[in-house]
């Protein structure tokens, strides 16, 4: 007969991770302003394969084995439909690995919020919450 120790350790460790996962996924995190001396890391329309929005661009990174990517796409499509100065771009992460590394994207869906210059002002890992996306969009000048 075996012992209960491995089972208990796994349940404790995965529960801890699971609670963190549930809390962090979908939360829109705004980027902290960089020091003046640091060069701005701008994302160009060339890199995302689409024109930037005149005020905001939502760059969504998706992959094939990702359930919440579909819901994220539907949500963001719905949000930008009413906003003439915001563009939503859905990108296949696997075929844009350069950009994925540059932005340090580790899981899908990840949505990067760019201002008019292409500067990252926030991001959400996991399917973002509608109210948080709308609040963040309202704050981008």
């Amino acid at each position: 007969m075996g012992t209960w120790t491995p089972l208990l350790l796994i349940l404790i460790a995965t529960s801890g991770y699971g609670f963190w996962y549930q809390r962090s996924r979908g939360r829109v995190v705004t980027a902290s302003p960089k020091a003046q001396s640091e060069p701005l890391r701008l994302i160009s329309s060339l890199e995302i394969g689409s024109e930037l929005g005149s005020r905001v661009t939502l760059v969504q990174f998706s992959s094939a084995f990702c359930s919440p990517c579909r819901a994220t796409r539907a949500l963001l499509t719905d949000i930008v439909a009413d906003l003439p100065d915001v563009v939503h771009v859905d990108i296949d992460a696997e075929s844009h690995l350069e950009l994925v590394r540059k932005l340090d994207i580790r899981s899908t869906p990840t949505t990067i919020i760019l201002d008019a210059r292409g500067l990252e002002v926030g991001r959400a890992v996991g399917a973002p919450r509608r109210d948080q996306v709308i609040a963040t969009l309202a704050n981008v000048k």
Binding site: I10, S63, S67, C69, L76, V80, D90, E94, L97, R101
Partner: protein, 155 residues
């Protein structure tokens, strides 16, 4: 303004099969119970059964496993409201990962290496438990990391 699609694997394409999203999560709960019991009892029979279930899920699809059959027969009729759908590929990917771990666990225990059995069963259990309790999406977390790592390796 508008959504621009730079995503060839887009799940909105017509050829993608959608399944009831609650099925895989129910199956993950059964899988968790089986793997937890396997880990405590070190039963070769149980890991063997779970390996067969993973193999069906990995190759025929997660909606074709015995657990999915239980869901359709006994659970689904009792659920009401809209049916949430999901792309079949993410749960199928998770079944493939589960199959890999179950295979390592079974081979490990048959060759008399219980450490392989415990570690591999443990990883499969962790993934199944996270999926069942926290709606964890294994493909979301693992696939891009694998793509990043293998691409770098190839270069």
């Amino acid at each position: 303004m508008a959504t621009i699609n730079r995503n060839p694997s887009s799940i909105d394409q017509k050829n993608v099969r959608l399944i009831d999203a609650r099925g895989p999560r129910f199956s993950a709960t059964i899988t968790t119970i089986i793997l937890a019991t396997t880990l405590v009892t070190h039963s070769k029979v149980l890991i063997g059964i779970q390996l067969v279930v993973f193999a069906i899920g990995a190759f025929a699809g997660p909606q074709k496993t015995p657990y999915a059959f239980l869901f359709k027969k006994f659970v689904k009729p009792r659920l009401s409201g809209d049916v949430p759908t999901e792309d079949v590929r993410p749960p199928q990917f998770a079944q493939k990962v589960g199959l890999l771990f179950a295979a390592v666990a079974l081979v490990g225990t048959l060759l008399g290496h219980p450490i392989f059995f415990v570690v591999a069963t443990g990883f499969a259990l962790a993934a199944a438990f996270l999926n069942s309790a926290f709606n964890f999406c294994l493909g979301c977390e693992m696939y891009l990391l694998i793509a990043r790592a293998t691409h770098r390796f190839r270069k």
